[in-house]
């Protein structure tokens, strides 16, 4: 099944929403997965040269287990190629390959694109010769689930089985990308015999070979990797129509012959000939062998499309870890990384003692009925003139500094918040963070509902006040609430200077005091945030304004 999607369609698909150009191999965050970065039409040279791919998929449509790949060449014919492998439901009797082509090309190339696509699946794929540059197929299978074997990688091409193998539910997609320097001698097109002609060493020039998906690209010059400024490949060979032969007398050389190569950028010039031949010479025979293996594999993938099923057990022999690239190793690590609960159970990860703990734990640790950090933070804030700071709690502190403060508080018992390096906005942000990261919201949902009910009831203000006071007496964490609202109330007393009226303050502090319980998804939280905000702000504002009475502030302080 082959689909061609416009980029826009793809936008709509849930599993490839957020692409992140900077973390090409980010292995799945929260369901939505990265498609790929793309350059936009009209943007000269903006396109990332090394194809950046990819990543896994959330199994959204049931049968799509993985998608690979993506895109682009140095000079803005961006084509996105997505390959999805699916295993049939229930342990997988059948596997199938799905590919889709997605276009991101600029206007001038739009018309050309569609013709590429149908070839990928059924017929021996003609190279996307209608493109100025070929499709990249980049690395492979980043399945989010843990049961994966280690990802295949480029170096593994040497020892690869020659076919794409799929075993369900474990899917393994083999790498069809390889890159490396070689010396190439382009031969005059000759209608010669099938035997390879003799090598003429003098004509060898440095090239960089890039095998990528259905094509072999020859870049002029040997240096470095391909980057954005690099000119387009000089030659593009479609593997499906390329044959290779050993060259007699040299075990480092290969004779390549391609019928009707794809025209490259300056179509009409030298590449128009019907047949292209060259000698490629590598440094060592081993390299040649590896390249032959990779070429054969890539061609196989294109033409044969024969997939064998493997037994359920994961393969015993692992891919040699020594050859993993950093990205792949990281991917691997993330995939195998045990869940946080597991680590906590084994005592490897300990939850932070202050931030992100539950209120009762923090209080027990500090041996008081309110968290020490809150008391110190509030004291420091008020001592350093925080109450007169315009936009207190509204303007955030430097995130890095807040993080530093957080670590300090978590790791040392004896910290001093009165130092000059903790400016007021940092302290305010830290306080908000502390409240927000408590395991349970300071205003428990039940308590909030009760207060909201009384607050909204049409009773007389004094009656309402009394009812809310009643509710608060049995509230968990009353001392902490008293501490916090006492402070907020003092902030509001200075609102002529700091411009934070009760309503303003309630608005920015509210989301830190209560949040919908249990709803894990960000989207749900956001929706709740928007709808509940009015009520929430109203209640928090009420609590701030009436703090004197509700929390018996004057009595307690006296």
């Amino acid at each position: 099944e082959l689909t061609v999607m416009s980029a826009e369609d793809l936008d709509k698909e849930p599993f490839c929403q957020c692409a992140d150009a900077s973390t090409p191999d980010d292995p799945d965050v929260e369901g939505a997965d990265c498609g790929a970065s793309s350059e936009e039409g009209g943007l000269d040279d903006s396109c990332p040269a090394v194809p950046m791919a990819t990543s896994a998929s959330q199994v959204d449509t049931g049968d799509i287990d993985d998608m690979a790949m993506v895109n682009l060449l140095p000079n803005r014919r961006s084509v996105m190629f997505r390959l999805s492998l699916g295993s049939g439901s229930g342990g997988g009797n059948k596997s199938f390959l799905q590919s889709s082509l997605q276009t991101h090309a600029s206007d001038s190339r739009q018309q050309k694109l569609p013709s590429v696509s149908p070839t990928l699946q059924e017929s021996p794929p003609q190279s996307p010769s209608c493109l100025d540059n070929p499709v990249f197929v980049e690395s492979a299978a980043s399945l989010p689930q843990l049961l994966l074997p280690p990802p295949p990688e480029p170096g593994a091409a040497q020892s690869l089985p020659r076919r794409l193998e799929i075993s369900s539910p474990t899917v393994r997609l083999l790498e069809t990308r390889k890159e490396g320097p070689a010396r190439v001698a382009v031969l005059k097109s000759s209608a010669s015999s099938s035997s390879a002609p003799k090598l003429k060493p003098g004509r060898l020039k440095s090239y960089r070979l890039v095998l990528t998906g259905p094509d072999l690209l020859l870049y002029r010059g040997s240096g470095g990797t391909i980057d954005r400024r690099r000119p387009p490949p000089e030659v593009i060979l479609s593997l499906a129509r390329t044959t290779w032969l050993a060259v007699p007398g040299s075990d480092r050389t290969l004779h390549l012959r391609c019928h009707e190569p794809s025209p490259d950028d300056d179509a009409g010039s030298k590449q128009q000939q019907k047949q292209f031949e060259c000698h490629i010479q590598w440094e060592t025979p081993e390299l040649r062998r590896a390249w032959i293996a990779a070429l054969t594999l890539a061609k196989d993938l294109l033409i044969n499309r024969q997939f064998t099923e493997r037994p359920q057990q994961p393969q015993p022999q692992a891919v040699q870890p020594a050859k993993h690239t950093i990205v792949q190793r990281l991917n691997d690590f993330f995939r195998r990384r045990p869940a946080i609960d597991e680590l906590e159970r084994r005592g490897i990860v300990r939850s932070e003692p202050v931030f992100g703990a539950s209120l009762t734990d923090v209080c027990a640790r500090d041996g008081a009925d309110t968290p020490l950090f809150l008391r110190r933070c509030i004291a420091a804030l008020e001592a350093s003139g925080g109450l007169e700071t315009v936009g207190l709690y509204r303007i955030g502190g430097n995130a890095a500094t807040v993080q530093r403060l957080r670590l300090l508080v978590d790791q040392t018992a004896d910290y001093d918040l009165n130092q000059a390096c903790w400016d007021i906005n940092v302290l305010a942000s830290a306080l908000k963070t502390f409240l927000r990261e408590l395991k349970q919201p300071l205003l428990a949902p039940d308590l909030f509902q009760a207060i909201a009910r009384h607050h909204m009831s049409g009773a007389k203000p004094s009656m309402r006040r009394a009812a809310v006071w009643q509710e608060l007496q049995v509230a968990p964490g009353l001392p902490t609430l008293r501490l916090v609202f006492g402070h907020l109330s003092r902030v509001v007393h200075h609102s002529a200077v700091n411009q934070m009226s009760a309503r303003n303050l309630a608005l920015v502090i509210g989301p830190n005091l209560l949040w919908p319980a249990g709803s894990a998804s960000v989207a749900a939280k956001a929706a709740n945030l928007a709808t509940d905000l009015a009520l929430q702000t109203g209640v928090v504002e009420y609590l701030i304004l009436e703090a004197d009475y509700l929390f018996d502030l004057s009595r307690v302080e006296a």
Partner: protein, 197 residues
Amino acid sequence: MSKSVSKSVKPIKIVVIGSGGVGKSALTLQFSKSKFFLDYDPTIEDSFSKSCYIDNEMARLDILDTAGQEEFTSMREQYMRLGQAFLVVFSVTDRKGFEEVDSLIQLIYRVKDREAFPIMVAGNKIDLQNDRCIDQSLAQELVQRHQEFNPYCAYIETSAKTRLNVDLVFHDLVRLLRLYNAKGGSKQAKKSKCSLL
């Protein structure tokens, strides 16, 4: 008659983002209502609409003014999806707000799945020269870094209080968007692209 013209034009969705208290609302209100409001209310989300002629072409702007506080970050991606052009505001008197600009722009690229997008960076509050801590060159440098791969990115210094460059910043953003659309980045262009399937 002008009404009918404005109805026929598709509105442009502009989203104003930036960290808390940098003057996003002031800028938006100054542009849409030509007033500088002294009240100091944190925004959750407000939207304004204004029609104007930019380069002799009618434009209907739907401006979404957003919350800058970290508590409201969960709403960010939602409105980012809707925006066609972004105004990233920071205050030249607030280092923290400036530091957040880069990450906000990165977030736009990520949410939009684009390497280039019409983004205007506005350095606000330049009437407060005495409190200034972000140099023009510093901001210029940041934007130039982005311009290397995103030509639809520009920097303008503004003052919502004195109305300096307020119109310019919105108008230029619309110009950037038009340029961007003309070069084929627009959705319409994309739609026509895929004729197969």
